[in-house]
Symmetry: C2
Subunit: 306 residues, 2 copies
């Protein structure tokens, strides 16, 4: 009998999520671990293997029920070779053939891709970008990632590294970025940057959840922080709109929860700065699949391959 | 007997070029007029019609020998409707159905597209981007345009306005651009801007041809001007490299003749600022078809349609 389930994994700088998904790519069971508790490459790989075995067992399944494993990773990967180039926010991985290692230990088919690509694939199949021909998806978090749908398919480029809007230079001069670049968008709107901006404005530390909540309640200081973030994002998206002219831009990731305050200023900036012809054609929408987009995208590649 | 020739037209802010091209898209005869001598829309349209009839006559051909007319235009067009939205550097055209007007007057099939798209099409078919899967072509001139080849085909997007790298914001704040945007690349490296930069450095007016020639002879002031231009261009191309990860970036247009000085600084900037994975994959090359690229691209769409 053919396997009826797949495993989806979403590895982030903060959480490692593992799920069992069915043939409709619906999540049937989910396991969330803290990525930070794994200090070394080997520890993280072992956690992946244990986690997969555990969730299969918890679901009352056996290995024979699992068709393949799809994994979303927070950094550039070579999809064809199954190779991780590096993770900007997780140490210890440099040119690691993760697919080879996991295939050997688990005896299962392994597909991997960048997490932003998988979010994009999921939002295009089931979410906000459903039915669109050309879409740009951006994920806001510790890192800022992006994925591109061109003519209805995920566009990866020969480097498998397309879509890195987090490393679009927002200015010619500015802060140095983790990637080696200068004045990258991520250095302006990454979570750490938002927190430090908020600390300046409020005079004390504040979580992003609080900052979003305060903005929803109309707190002026919180609104001011989100407005600045929305403007930075809007300038970067003006580049995307003028160069790629997508039908839709989907914004997801934790920070997208800031909601109206962030979207309003982002849309306003794009309308003011992008060229009218392209700007008329683009919709800027929140992601619909929320925190599960990465897992669903991982499920999609586990079913269909890369 | 089937028509064996097409007409290619390249309308720029400075020159109006008309050519007869054969079935191999080789230019057989060329006519160059000054765009600036036509002050009104109707004058320019009449010049187009007269020019076409004239070059057909000069070539010893008749209308029956002409399969169709392809036209490259310096602004956003709706390829499907044959509509010119506007020309940033030629007044009098706003939502003009140029295809309809010319088809009626000439009784020939008319295809039109943005000039940068046609340059890109030509460089991909016959020039520097030949054989590449994903390519970005940029034309430097009074305006700065761009075209995109994705998965081997010209990518136009639903707005037909993709590729507008000239209007990629290079900074969050900066000079206002003709397009309505702020700090667009064109405002930093358009011909007018280069001339005014050169005037500052040299203390007197200087043509772009002189500036290129002086740089080739090692003149330090000229090299300094091109270095600044190359750096601006390199920052903008770092965005393209990180987001699209093309196999090749082709640089054409008059200013590309500045040669080594411009290319060296552009490549150095991309190598320093773009992400290593994408940067390793990209070649930055001068266009091979020179001033004729637009005419050849117009010939291609005249033969194959848009």
């Amino acid at each position: 009998m053919a396997a009826k389930y797949v495993i989806g994994i979403d590895l982030g700088g903060t959480n490692l999520k593992i799920a069992v998904l069915d043939f409709r790519v619906k999540i049937r069971r989910k396991l969330i671990l803290s990525t930070r508790s794994f200090k070394k490459k080997e520890e993280l790989i072992r956690a992946l293997c244990l986690g997969i075995r555990e969730i299969v067992r918890q679901s009352g399944l056996t290995k024979a029920d699992i068709r393949a494993v799809g994994i979303g990773l927070p950094g550039p990967v070579d999809v064809e070779k199954g190779l991780v180039h590096f993770f900007p926010n997780i140490p210890g991985f440099k040119e690691v053939c993760l697919r080879g290692i996991l295939r050997k230990r688990l005896g299962l088919g392994i597909f991997l891709d960048n997490d932003a690509n998988l979010m994009c694939l999921a939002e295009h199949r089931f979410g906000a970008a459903k039915g669109s021909r050309n879409a740009f998806c951006i994920t806001l978090g510790t890192g800022v990632g992006g994925g591109l749908i061109i003519n209805g398919s995920l566009y990866r480029a020969r480097s498998f590294a397309a879509g890195e809007i987090g490393h679009l230079p927002l200015n010619e001069n500015g802060p140095r970025c983790n990637c080696g670049g200068i004045a990258c968008l991520e250095a302006y709107i990454g979570n750490n940057r938002i927190r430090s901006q908020a600390k300046k404005v409020f005079g004390h530390s504040i979580t992003l959840e609080e900052l979003s909540l305060l903005a929803k309640r109309g707190n002026k200081k919180a609104l001011r922080v989100w407005k600045v973030i929305g403007r930075h994002l809007g300038v970067a998206l003006s580049s995307i709109v003028n160069v790629l002219s997508p039908d839709i831009i989907v914004i997801g990731g934790g920070v997208a929860d800031a909601g109206r305050a962030l979207f309003k200023e982002t849309r306003r900036t794009v309308a003011a700065r992008a060229m009218p012809v392209q700007s008329r054609h683009v919709k800027i929408s929140p992601a619909l699949l929320g925190q599960d987009a990465g897992l669903i995208g991982a499920g999609i590649i586990a079913w269909q391959g890369n």
